[in-house]
Each structure stands twice: as C-alpha cells, then as structure tokens.
C-alpha cells in the first residue's frame, strides 16, 4: 500500500491508499494516520479486506501501542469493517465515532477498544499536544457523519465529500480540477442526499483555513483547488442522480 506524507512538521499526516494487493471489486480507499509525539490516530482505518496491507504500511510509521485513537467518520464497511481486527491489536485504544452509529458499528466486533460517541454538534480529539476538531457533516452522506479538521496542519479529512472514483494507481493530488469533475460528479449527486446539508457544510468549511482537503476516495485537493471544490460543490444539485 502506498504511503504519502502530506504534512511533516512537528506532527505528521500520512495518507495510505492505492493498494496494489487490494482484491478486485473493492473500492479504493484513503486511510489517514496522524502522528503526534508518541501517539497516533487512524482516520477511517478501512475495511476488513485491506487490514493486512494497512497494518503492514502503518508499522513503517508507528508501533501498535502508539495507536491510541481511531476515528470513523460514519458506519460504512469501507470505513470501519476492520474494527474487529484492530480491536485485537489495540487493546487500549479509543474509537471516536458518531453516537448515532454506536449500536451498529459494534456489530463489526468491539470488545477491547472503548467507543467514544461523538455528539451531533461535534467535538475535539486531544492527541498529545494537538487538538483536532470534529466537524459535523451529517447527511454527507451518512445521517451521522463527521470530518476531522487539523487547525495546525490546515488539513480537513472530508470523508466522502470530495471523493472520486478513479482507476487504480491514480495520483494523490488533483492536478486538473476541471478534468477531475467528471470523476466526482455522479458520486456526489448520487451519494449526497441533501442540498440543505451540503450548503450548511460548505458554509461551515468556508470559515476554516483549509490547505488540504483530504477525502476518503480518490485524490486530495490542495491550495486553490480546495476553494474550487467548495464553489463547485455549492453549485451542485445533489440527491438527484436518479434516472
């Protein structure tokens, strides 16, 4: 699995994805690791099928006992169905996930890791010397959904917002925004059910200083492309891709 450092200062952000060992027919996913001092957080650690590749890749950056926190933006299998295996590897970790999904996510297997329910209004994850903000993103696409904003690194992990369906081996960053629209238009129109929720999210994100918008599928948006994406998304009619 490919690992790319997207922020490397006093703390680090690493994105894992473009897994060449991924079984066919499984959507490619981006998993994120935030390392601060001697602690680490895994964001949307992925599905059960990519667990081995993911753990192998992670061990190049941190040890298992350094991983103290997991985050699941919502309940989908490509986000967190590997939970039962992480649960065996990380006996003292916490899982931050929407309160609304607790009874559902526990079906993936949760005996050791502590479930920290995120209230609807969001909250913070304290990771060593930094605080990460949990930004509400309900109905984008899940009815209980959060994104993670790092005000120091200026990175917004945006879950399915900004996601694109790409062929294997795609670049990590969007280079030609206009061309990229074709790869994400249908995804957003079909998966995002509410214009009201979308516009509320865009308004909230415009108040943040975002240098990198990091979705769970496809390429990341950097610099000016972040603003371009917000403009495009705001103008897009969602919940509409039904024939």
């Amino acid at each position: 699995m490919k690992a790319t450092n997207i922020y490397d200062q006093r703390h680090q952000w690493v994105v894992f994805g473009r897994d060449p060992d991924k079984p066919d027919g499984i959507i490619d996913t981006n998993q994120y690791l935030v390392c601060v001092d001697d602690r680490a957080l895994l964001l949307d650690p992925g599905g059960i099928e990519i667990f081995s590749s993911m753990l192998s890749a992670v061990l190049h950056h941190v040890s298992v006992d350094q991983i103290t926190d997991l985050f699941a933006s919502h309940q989908d299998p490509d986000i967190i169905s590997s939970l039962g295996l992480w649960d065996q590897a990380l006996p003292n970790a916490r899982l931050h996930a929407p309160w609304i999904w607790e009874g559902f996510i526990r079906h993936f297997g949760l005996s050791n890791i502590k479930y920290e329910p995120i209230p609807d209004e969001g909250g913070e994850i304290h990771l060593g010397s930094i605080k990460l903000n949990l930004v509400p993103a309900h109905y984008l696409h899940s009815s209980g959904n959060f994104h993670v904003y790092d005000p120091v690194a200026k990175i917004l992990m945006s879950g399915d917002v900004g996601a694109a369906l790409e062929p294997p081996g795609a670049d990590m960053y969007v280079d030609d925004f206009d061309e990229h629209i074709n790869k994400m238009k249908m995804f957003h129109q079909r998966w995002m059910p509410s214009n009201r929720a979308k516009n509320d999210w865009v308004k909230r994100v415009r108040q943040l200083d975002v240098e990198i918008l990091a979705p769970q599928h496809g390429r990341l948006f950097k610099g000016e492309n972040v603003g371009r994406f917000l403009d495009w998304f705001e103008a897009l009619e969602v919940g509409a891709a039904i024939a």
Binding site: S63, V64, A89
Partner: protein, 211 residues
C-alpha cells in the same frame, strides 16, 4: 456422512438438528399417552402394557429435557467457535503482517499482541473442547435411552398380542414409537458426526498453531 464444513457451522448445526429431536420426542410422548389410554380401556387384556408406556413416557420427557440442555450448550459452543475463528483469523493476519512487513521499523511491536492473542486462543480452545465433550456425553445419554426404548417397544409388541381387539391400535402406536426412536437416533448420530468433524478441525487448528 457429513461433508467437510466449517467447524463453527457444524457446531451451530447441532442445535438445529436437535431442535427436530425435541419435536420428535414430544410426539413420542403423545403417542405413549394414547397407548396408555388404550391400555386402560383394554383393562386386563393389556395389563402388561401400562408399565411399558409409563417407562417410555418418562424416557421421552427426559429426552426433551436433555435436548433443552444440549440446545443451550450448543449455542454456547457455537459462540465459542465463532470467537475462536475470529481470534485465529486475527492471529493469521498479524503473522502475515509480521512477514510482509518484516522490514518495517515497528514490526516488533506486533510480538506482544500476537502472544496475548495466542494465549486467549488457547483458553478459548480449552473451553471449546470442554463444551464439545459435555455435548457428546449428553448426546450419548439420548442414544442410550433410545436403544433401551427400542427394546421396550419390542416387548410391548408381545403384550399387544394379548390385547385382542386393541391389538392393532397398540401395534400401530408401537410402530410410531419405534419410528420416533429411529429418527431421534439418526439425528443424534448426525449431530455427533458434525461435532466430531468440528472437534477434528479444532484439533487440527491447535496442531497448526503449535507447529
């Protein structure tokens, strides 16, 4: 003959197989009560029949109790089997990662979780074998009861001969009971085969783990 199926499927299937046994035992108990009523009407002509029906009735009630016990234990066995499967899967995945990421800086941090998991896995396997043994003992009890019941039913046929006009009714009931005994034996036998297959797999897994 049970074809090779996953151990947790085999252990779960035991409960389903024996659920049928409980139904057959209940039907057997009703047949016996019918036989008893006929024997009462027959009076002295079916004098020898009453103690036989009492005995079989008691046996069918005991069989239902045993099946209830087995049901509870087989559900627990199935839960343990699935848990063992999950732990084994995790151990295998961690081992694979240890190999594929042997050059990773922090690969040695997996040693402790693997050690802990293997300890839990061993404890789960011990529990599994203990439950499996207990279940086999309970199933043996049912099989023995059915063998005795078959002998008693044969005796009841001799008594039925003396029951004159009630003979055909009593013989028909004896046939029903005999058929119920055969069904129960067959189901228990099939459950035992499934359980043996699961035990063999667990033994094989434990052997693989120790290699």
């Amino acid at each position: 003959m049970i074809t090779k199926e996953a151990a947790f499927v085999s252990s779960t299937s035991v409960a389903a197989e024996l659920f049928v046994v409980a139904g057959v035992a209940r039907a057997m108990s009703i047949s016996v009560k019918n036989a008893k009523a006929i024997a009462n009407r027959a009076g002295v002509k079916a004098r020898g029949f009453s103690p036989i029906t009492d005995f079989i009735d008691e046996m069918s009630i005991e069989t239902m109790k045993l099946v209830n016990l087995i049901n509870k234990d087989s559900i627990e066995l199935s839960r343990l089997a699935i848990n063992e499967l999950r732990i084994r899967d995790a151990v295998e995945k961690f081992r694979k990662v240890s190999e594929t990421a042997s050059d990773a800086k922090y690969v040695s941090s997996l040693i402790e979780p693997i050690k802990k998991l293997k300890k839990i896995q061993y404890e789960e396997q011990v529990k599994l074998h203990s439950y499996a043994r207990k279940l086999k003992d309970l199933m043996d009890d049912i099989s023995k009861k059915m063998s005795v019941a078959s002998v008693i039913v044969s005796n009841s046929r001799i008594e039925a001969v003396n029951a004159e006009e009630y003979r055909s009714n009593l013989e028909s009931i004896a046939n029903d009971i005999e058929s119920a005994c055969a069904t129960i034996r067959e189901r228990v036998n099939s459950s035992e085969q499934r359980l043996d297959s699961a035990i063999q797999q667990w033994k094989g897994n434990a052997q693989d783990e120790s290699d």
